[in-house]
Symmetry: D2
Subunit: 367 residues, 4 copies
């Protein structure tokens, strides 16, 4: 189990679905950042279960408490402990869950790896694990905002077979947050909401794609060769439950173009000076070249599979390999994407702030 | 610059395109592995430039020398230093390369990040950097083979608009190595070779996709939540030059399915015992569930953009932001995929051996 | 601020003297270890303030709550969150502490490093920070005990000018815990207790030395060249507040001997087989040779300076550099050593369990 | 085996006593530092064997070659590979060394840990391993000098029973380098040289102590709680062969003082402004308080045991545990301290530059 992330801005998350609570310790946060519990709570509220009819009916206030690391409203540079108690971990008979393996879930592999598992609600493999990421991500996001003006925005761009039709650079937070799906295209959003409703009624589930747009990201960050910015982002997103793919810039579609069609020509950008005067005409690079951010918007797409937990009966085996039929009870999201939007933003923030601090360590030491 | 990779099996690579040489130090290799320079050389020969008309004409023997860490033909557990001298770093006038930024290359971002750059042949952003990965990967591959019987195989499954038509599980090393493209489908391979030839003649370049198949991978490896197996693989592949995307199992296509269509039913697998008796009917998970390998083949796809360096004239700017026309001379691959196959295999080996050792550290300590 | 320790068995501590609480997240603990809150509490009780007249009068129950990572009494391999609420953080006027720098304390350097500080009770520089280490150390200790039979024992061997007179190998836990000073020599213990009483009455403080003895430590652990066992132990102990020195085996005294006097002759050890049949006649190496444990008892000594906080008036400066007189109020230990014994044991356990797991990752893979 | 050191300024060393060569890769060096092979060679020449009658007669030019990472005389921010070929690895019959364990050497523990060992000249446990540290340390030292004006100086302050009598702050590089022992006190230096000569003639060896003084070290560096500056320094020095102890500031002697005697009073330092106006009257803290450098000189002492390899016959056992007599042939230093001075300086530089970069990453981000 490795629940520590980052090199200079490090987070350590803990907690299971049905334990006492979940949380995170943030280590290496620069001192002097003004931040409040309310700012962190705002992000957690976007991730919270039960926020709409499209999400799991589990009711959790997900109220965060900051335990350490702040003094007079500012970070002190010492570890920031944050705790979110679990309140709606239903006490009930887990029945079949004890020895049945849910298809495409982590039950079997946890048994294989650790020898046994906490079968209550998915244990650590539950999406509840991501609360710590979101709480820490709120701090990372504010650092980037304050230091670089960075704007991190994600939205659902595909649910099942329905695709949004919008230029990512024109997506607005207001529109995204004004619909239950968190889609930047309001027309597609309605269709997506209906599709999710239909899937739930059919005891089934849907997957989709989240689009990430980062404007005013710190420039020059990313540490070739192994810690290229896109490599770190890919790892960040693929560490999220249910993810199956990652693209930056032109992605898989770009592989069908010729170099002359694909290359982003450098152009002069008006009145600015020095490196700020240089940009690219197109942005198939997705804001990253040679593993380093170039000042253009960072564009990524993340694939999420349909929720593995569905209510309809499924074929599976038990611990002894005996074939059985599983009818999952529990509570679950028929489509994880609306809530995953904020988690994607959090991972982007955590990844970029770490690379930003690493660049800051060495940049400009010798002119 | 971060050129160290791995937690327990660590590699540290060095060297530029036009310096004295490139190499790697492998730290943390278990003691007692029998390995020879010839075994490492065999992998380097597959990566070598000039191996066919489809690759860069740069001529390099890429002869590896093991400097340390072996005794009487076996690893001693101490660092294994390996060096490959550069021999064909043409001495010439770099002319425009000194202050022109090649589109979609790392020239601009290296200047932005480091303040200046070694402009000779791409410096550290050159694909020559991957030699150290391949040399170290040969050792990682042998460890996995000896310890788990692991078979790591990659091939080109798409070049430009041409797709291979073959079940990844049926791909054979012999077929792959018998054509210049390293495609597992011999019919597609011929079309791909022609397409690459055409692109080169047109002073242009092509991209494509590499398919990875890992059979008999160690089971139970991957460290949730942040170091899930797919997350580490994604980072590994996205750390390669020219990569734009990653998929595991069903990938982006799987996001369009419903849960009931997508889930991999668990089934009993014949006469085996314990966990070995349990497998999945389908493998949309791509051999990884909950971030942990489950014993099914690992299936990944990696997107490579068309080579950024092309011979036809392109629009760009110089250091001062002045718009200019670039006509690249140099030597380059019109399509990097045939040579990238071995690099993908190396990164898979390096990633899996590291996770394997980490699992071995804790597994079975308390029954 | 770097509050994460370990590579495979990782702990992340948080919390200040006067915040809501202190705690730790343990990441990478092997699954299947049976452990209870009571076992962890037992160690915390040995560290607890107010346990005797020789320690600070601050009253804290230091009651630990395990938040995650256990299921049915066993570790699951997932992060173990532990929290100890602060209960006796007196609310009062900090007066001079806000802008006066206590001599030989961390006030000045925290301001220098972080720009400002939490001045209440020392903030993160308080010994209260060590609670997380002790809680995590209790788990590490049990792993070593279960897996290797390891016995970790520390005691106060010097207070001020009073030295214990006892062979470390003959020290007994029972004797150590039966006196207030935690000295293995009961005669010296009485003199030490009196000396501490006298120092407190004189508004002054004392330092001293703690002796560590580890029997049945895992063999073959320590990772040359940079992570030699003695190097990791030295870092572990020097990371504790108030430490000024470290010795292993013969230490500084051994530097005055000749090689022929200092070398530990290898001898055959009776009826055992293989490496277990080989030991050393003397143990000036302190159980570690070439950075690797050799099976003999590990012997270390750690120097603690006299407590920096004393009640008698002292010369100092304020933030503006103006010279002032400080008369510390607060509550503090006149001598930290009796309580530091358990912290030294915890750091030894944390360090050895991490090296043990690393050795287990690679050992015996290729015979 | 763990031969990687540092978090932001990372070095990876390799090579054995009797292999093809030894070397290092420096990863994470800031770009733009002007440095030459000659500057690195100068440090290696101070470490070189055969430099005087007091050292091993092994003859090695120890000529360094920079393989990568520099362009037009400056570091590019990419890995700096450096190689030093072995030239005088005598080919001979190792005879008894194959299965005899040299007392207090690493032979037995390497066999225990790795299963077998390179018995030629100590393999990786040879002091030859430190060449990579010295080469990398030369770069670290120059960074600190250029960025902060830091002066790192070490000298032999004790050999056997002979102690130097000099205030560390008055030690001069010129005096140190003008005698064979590298002692800052010329009178003691002569006695020490004679003592070493006598020990060699007696087929015996001597140990001693090295004093380190760092002036103008970067302020505010050190990362509490686990990576306190003194903790990192302790690990750095204890990772050197033959070390048995470490002290910072008042060290073990300081434990006998009372707090009122030991505390360093803060005082106003003349005309400077801000934090530069504040210093301490005494320096028992050794330049580090609360784990963070305070601007006063850093003072450390490192204990080295007498060389384990001696020519006189010694009792030992062979691999099978059979008791035997060893008469070491080989070539060795009768006292390692004169050559260890430069290695101590290198480790101090490597440690401080890493902490300096980490502090730079976060410092002053939010005023």
């Amino acid at each position: 189990m490795s629940s520590i992330y980052g090199n200079l801005f490090r987070i350590s998350t803990f907690g299971e679905s049905h334990g006492k609570g979940v949380g995170v310790v943030v280590d290496g946060c620069p001192a002097g950042l003004a931040i409040t519990e309310a700012e962190i709570q705002a992000e957690l509220d976007r991730r919270r279960p039960g926020q709409s009819r499209l999400t799991t009916p589990r009711k959790e206030a997900d109220k965060v408490e900051i335990l350490s690391g702040l003094f007079e409203g500012k970070t002190t540079g010492t570890p920031i402990g944050m705790l979110v108690p679990n309140t709606d971990q239903r006490s009930h008979d887990y029945g079949d869950m004890v020895d049945l393996y849910r298809p495409s879930h982590a039950d079997f592999t946890y048994d294989l790896k650790y020898g046994f598992r906490d079968y209550r609600g998915g244990g650590r493999a539950s999406a509840r694990e991501t609360i710590g990421r979101v709480a820490a991500g709120a701090i990372a996001r504010k650092i980037l905002k304050e230091a670089c003006g960075t704007e991190i925005l994600a939205y659902v761009s595909q649910v099942g077979t329905i695709d949004a039709d919008i230029d990512p650079l024109k997506a607005s937070f207001k529109t995204i947050e004004s619909n239950l799906v968190r889609c930047a295209d309001p027309v597609a959003a309605e269709k997506m909401a209906k599709a999710i409703d239909d899937a739930r009624k059919a005891q089934d589930s849907l997957g989709g794609v989240i689009q990430l747009v980062v404007k005013k990201a710190p420039k020059g960050v990313g540490e070739p060769v192994f810690n290229r910015a896109e490599a770190e982002l890919a790892r960040a997103f693929l560490s999220l439950p249910a993810t199956k793919g990652f693209e930056v810039g032109s992605g898989f579609a770009g592989t069908r173009l010729r170099g002359s069609q694909h290359n982003d020509a450098f152009v002069s950008k008006g009145k600015k000076a020095g490196f700020d005067a240089i940009g690219t005409e197109t942005n198939r690079s997705g804001g990253i070249q040679g593993g380093i951010t170039n000042g253009e918007p960072i564009l990524c797409r993340i694939a999420f599979k349909p929720t593995a937990t569905i209510s309809m009966p499924q074929k599976t085996v038990d611990k002894k390999g005996k074939e059985r039929i599983l009818a999952a009870k529990g509570r679950h999201d028929p489509c994880v994407l609306p809530r995953a939007v904020v988690i994607v933003e959090a991972m982007a923030a955590l990844t970029l702030v770490d690379l930003f601090l690493e660049q800051r360590a060495r940049f400009g030491l010798f002119k």
